[in-house]
Symmetry: C2
Subunit: 208 residues, 2 copies
Amino acid sequence: MNDLTGLQSVSQRSLPVLGEPRPERADARRNRLKVLEAAERLFAEQGVKNVSLDAIAAAAGVGKGTVFRRFGDRAGLAVALLDEREVELQARILTGPPPLGPGAPALDRVNAFLAAYVELLDRHVELFVDSENASDGARYRIGSYRLWHRHIAMLVEEARPDLDADYTAHFILAPLAADLHQALRAEGFTLARMQSGLTAAATALLTS
Amino acid sequence: MNDLTGLQSVSQRSLPVLGEPRPERADARRNRLKVLEAAERLFAEQGVKNVSLDAIAAAAGVGKGTVFRRFGDRAGLAVALLDEREVELQARILTGPPPLGPGAPALDRVNAFLAAYVELLDRHVELFVDSENASDGARYRIGSYRLWHRHIAMLVEEARPDLDADYTAHFILAPLAADLHQALRAEGFTLARMQSGLTAAATALLTS
DNA sequence: GTCTTGAGCGGACTACAGTCCGTCTTATGA
DNA sequence: TCATAAGACGGACTGTAGTCCGCTCAAGAC
């Protein structure tokens, strides 16, 4: 899954990229991996919101500054942890079998995406909530959201060329916000109910 | 606007309510007003996110504990400040003239609501962002969201009884999230474009 | 192997959100 | 008017996110 064009990974920073003058230094890479490993472990053990970045830095055996330089803030760390899972979904969309991958009608692809994404979301809600609570709407600027958006916009354009595809794609992605998902789960909504609600809505929206 | 049944105000705590044994104490009321006034002024002067609660407490001439006891947290204060404007919109929905108020077809009422809400949102984005970044998805539990939700769910039920009205209402409200609105504005979307995108989507969704 | 350079390091530091609890004020009713 | 208790007050305190900057050391040049 390393050479699929268009994938929006942040965890592969060690690969040399055109325009990035220097590859990642060995000590930097070592520390990045130590931090990710420590974070994953502590999050799993104690719940995402009960773990401070000091604790992660300590567990990784690095200074706090290192964590922040590398990941920017709490949300950045969560994004990096989710990255691997998201890249997998991205790959299935870009090159996997239909209906998630290319080849199926637009509506089917949208519905397949919604079902797959909400399942991923459900499995890692806490991490998603963390990653989306970035200081200044960073969610909407990071690579993976932009990829989901381009993907949906393309399909909207295909199914309903009369709509504003760019805006409508944001509209369709909005109900996937992690805090909403968490709140609805807490209110008793099942995953299946949300999935069928999403696909029913998308179907109504994209059928003329 | 004080006696409209169903309004979800938090700024009217001084009115005696059935089941609440004691009315607000005079010193409490005085301080609440001082804090709201100071917050409104400082937010306007320096931008919502540049003002700390210490600063508000100091400007209001009260202790920090008072601010927190009264409003719970930063989001609670933002909610209280928005409250007056939201109550006004609630009143227009519940008892105002159509299409916002009762009497118009469901789709028209939904579209009128979306246009009105997004305009309100646009006028107070920063405050809305603050109010929705509550610790634990409080947005979805506070009175005003619940009222918007009930309102939309009722109209969905009317227009498309085949859909899951409860879920679909959340779906329709999701694109009104303040952080999304702010991000799209920053990306260059105009208010008018968002309004027409919203009504187009809602129309597609609620027309069978 | 040695030198040079600049990216990386880390922990002290700042600022802020939110809590706690001893003190003080208000409302009540006798 | 005064006693009493429910409740409000406020500032010291705690814990965390995020910044800063002098020091370290990896990596490439020779």
